[in-house]
């Protein structure tokens, strides 16, 4: 039987808290009680909700401009037409296109010094989804798969990794990838429907599903007899969860949200999907990626950002408010990230091109020292002037914020594969 949990201290603490709450509630329980059973008791549910770490990645596919979001340069020749506005944190300014986030920066750390040295959509997206460049012969899992593995609950009735990506452009540049962790940690990818088509029952009865599962089990046992393979094991695990996932359909249905909440997120697809992401993490899904494409503004960059950044501002601010009001922000990390940023130089079409030498991302909520800025780009945004970091350091920071030991190893055969390369340190300045 493959070991499910990594054994890190974080899980021990989590389970200790969980068991402590069980005792406090006077409830007889056993350590292998599943999450769905535990959720039946309100006091346990509350503790679980607090302790289980989750992550929502707002993936700004195509490359949002740092100058029109987190690192404005008003007055510089490269600055573009937008102004910087004061945030709720003295001394920190962001683009005027983000007035709502400016007012609630208290939970957000801005990183302005990414130098990831790769301005190609495909390979940069792959790198920024994995925290490392591609390595021949090693199929490394993406962030969602790693967090599924590290934060997911055994026998969870909900998926561990959900990814929304409706735009067709860029979809194949950063596909979800469980890599060597196996299909158990693969994403439930949503490309066309807010509710997964493959968990809709579509007239198939509960009894039909039971019988189908029994038949599959019979056939699988026959196939597996005498064979041992991580792949078979992983697929069997994934199938065994299907019936549980079928009960997840309601989680994706934002129509069950009060209209007031839906209005707060706004009517756009990105707003609706982010609301669905909040519903999912609230129910215990450890990782949701919401892909907002496509920011690749080689022409009319400013109008593109005039269109898209206010949407990001509204959706992100609403998400943080919503998580906070539900007591989930302390345990949920919200990331804005892309494959790269955009050139400071403005081209002849009033566009900005691909740029990976000095760009920005943000981390909010769980484990993050809010109201902080790390790193600095130079006066025109061409280079990192202070605090340069790469993808590995960013991922080490994400892991640490979520309570995951970034130095731990996975093993592919006998080969140890570290979560981040040896010697990589998280950015302690942005960690709570």
């Amino acid at each position: 039987m493959r070991k499910r949990f990594c054994g890190s201290g974080e899980h021990v603490i989590s389970r200790r808290g969980f068991l402590g709450t069980m005792a406090a509630g006077g409830v007889a329980a056993c350590a292998d009680m599943t999450a769905i059973q535990a959720l039946a008791a309100p006091e346990i549910s509350a503790e679980l909700r607090r302790n289980q770490k989750r992550c929502i990645l707002l993936w700004l596919a195509g490359g949002a401009s740092q100058l029109e979001t987190w690192d404005p340069k008003p007055g510089a020749v490269t600055g573009g037409p937008f102004q910087a506005i004061q945030t709720s944190v003295p001394g920190i300014h962001i683009s005027e296109l983000m007035p709502r986030m400016a007012r609630r920066l208290k939970d957000t750390a801005i990183i302005r010094s990414l130098n990831t040295r790769n301005a190609d959509h495909n390979s940069a997206a792959e790198m920024m989804m994995r925290g490392r460049p591609r390595e021949a012969g090693l199929n490394y899992p993406d962030l969602g798969a790693v967090l599924s593995r590290e934060l997911g609950q055994e026998s969870s009735p909900v998926p561990d990794y959900v990814a929304f990506y409706f735009a067709t452009e860029g979809r194949n540049m950063a596909p979800s990838n469980p890599g060597f962790l196996g299909a158990r940690h693969g994403a439930m990818d949503l490309y066309t429907s807010m509710i997964p088509e493959n968990i809709r029952r579509n007239g198939i009865s509960e009894q039909d599903h039971i019988e189908r599962a029994d038949l599959r089990g019979t056939l699988s046992r026959g196939f597996e007899r005498g064979r041992s393979s991580l792949t078979i094991d992983s697929h069997s695990h994934a199938y065994s969860r299907v019936r549980g996932l079928m009960s997840s359909e309601a989680l994706f249905d934002i129509g069950r949200e009060p209209q007031r909440i839906r209005d707060m997120y706004g009517p756009t697809l990105f707003g609706q999907q982010t609301l669905a992401a909040r519903r999912l993490v609230e129910a215990g899904v450890p990782f949701v990626r919401v892909g907002r494409a496509w920011w690749d503004s080689h022409g009319h960059n400013f109008e593109t950002h005039q269109e898209m950044v206010p949407e990001l501002d509204q959706v992100m601010c609403t998400l943080l408010d919503d998580l906070e009001q539900r007591g989930l922000l302390e345990s949920t990390l919200v990331i804005t990230l892309a494959e790269f940023g955009r050139t400071p130089n403005i081209n002849s079409q009033l566009g900005r091109d691909h740029f990976a030498s000095a760009w920005s991302c943000s981390l909010s909520g769980c484990g993050i020292r809010g109201g902080s800025v790390y790193g600095r780009s130079d006066a025109t945004g061409q280079r990192v002037a202070d605090g340069e970091i790469n993808a590995a350091r960013l991922f080490a920071t994400i892991y640490r914020a979520l309570g995951i030991n970034h130095r731990k190893n996975y093993h592919v055969g006998a080969r140890p594969i570290p979560l981040t390369d040896p010697g990589t340190e998280p950015i302690r300045e942005v960690l709570a």
Binding site: P81, T268, H300, E307, M308, I346, Q349, L350
Partner: protein, 333 residues
């Protein structure tokens, strides 16, 4: 071949710049240009020289997107700060500053008799001002603030008819409204949806809009310029496009297209000899079209993406401004 023809179009002079010039106004009977710049300033220079000295009129604080002359002494500039500023160009002094709009000012137009100034901005309102006193005469509301997919719209262009009685305004989604200047009534509207590309499948965002407007000499037709439908909205990779309407009947009469890029300005010859469309993609483009015969006269290039153009009095010379360059071109044989 007549002494002056678009077919003769040739470069007279290019003046290199470090900034991006969004707008130009020309002092009558001279080569003196007033330009609005990405360096937030209004500049005055003599385009009759190869390396002209540059006189800064003042700092607007944001991109200056439109400059227009009222008479020969007063310049009005509008910018992304939402303000209109009247300048005395001879004394280099501010006459007045008006907080005209709550969002980016996109374009200004002066009525042919020089008495009225129109401004359009991304607050989706057109305001008409007394060009001399700066007093607001009226405001025109009718363009939708949101696009059909719930993103903020933009109001890019405005132009007076030759008799000054009508004003046209054009927005991001391709809607053009014709207004009665005297009382603010809406006289008509035409739609050019081809000029707005909403990509709801591949990239889930939009590009385009009505960037250029021009009435024909008798004011019965309106030309509308921009970029046609784009497959990849990452850049201006669609055909430059002009559509001409009989606005009273809301009937499109004809259209023409050119090389990849967007038409930023339209100028209709006062004697109906041609309709000039100018703009660009990675490079600059210019098209001269015969509106009577509905046939192309000339299509060519300008060595930079062009944002605005001014002609001399007899329309034999043009002064194009745009990406890091001013280009002076001649139509004379």
């Amino acid at each position: 071949m007549p002494a002056s023809s678009p077919r003769n179009l040739r470069s007279v002079r290019d003046i290199n710049r470090r900034d991006i010039l969004f707008s130009v106004a020309r002092l009558p009977n001279s080569d003196t240009l007033i330009v609005g710049s990405s360096d937030n300033k209004v500049h005055e220079l003599n385009a009759g020289q190869n390396n002209p000295p540059d006189r800064e009129l003042a700092d607007h604080g944001r991109y200056v997107t439109s400059v227009r002359l009222v008479g020969t002494r007063t310049v009005v500039s509008g910018g992304y700060d939402g303000r209109l500023i009247w300048w005395d160009r001879e004394r280099g002094e501010v006459i007045r500053t008006v907080a005209a709009h709550t969002r980016w000012v996109r374009q200004l137009a002066v009525s042919p008799d020089g008495t009225k100034l129109a401004s359009v901005a991304d607050d989706m309102v057109c305001r008409i001002w007394n060009a001399t006193t700066g007093e607001r005469i009226r405001e025109l509301r009718g363009h939708a603030a949101r696009t059909p997919t719930n993103f903020g719209s933009m109001l890019y262009a405005c132009v007076f008819s030759a008799d000054g009685r009508k004003l046209a305004t054009g927005d991001r989604v391709g809607r053009v409204i014709i207004w009665n200047v005297e009382d603010g009534r809406q006289l008509g509207a035409v739609d050019a949806p081809t000029l707005y590309t909403w990509d709801g499948v591949q990239r889930i965002r939009s590009i385009g809009g009505v960037r250029g407007l021009a009435f024909n000499p008798d004011g019965t037709q309106i030309a509308v310029g921009g970029v046609g439908q784009i497959g990849n909205v990452d850049a201006l990779q669609g055909p430059s496009r002009v559509e001409v309407f009989n606005w009273a009947r809301a009937e499109r009469l004809f259209f023409f297209t050119g090389q990849q890029g967007i038409v930023n300005r339209l100028v209709w010859h006062p004697a109906n000899e041609w309709l000039c469309a100018i703009g660009g993609g990675s490079n600059g483009l210019v098209m001269f079209h015969d509106p009577a015969r509905r046939a192309s006269i000339h299509q060519g290039n300008i060595p930079m993406h062009v944002h605005d153009v001014a002609f001399n009095e007899d329309h034999t010379r043009l002064y194009a401004v745009g990406h890091q360059k001013i280009s002076v071109m001649d139509l004379r044989a």
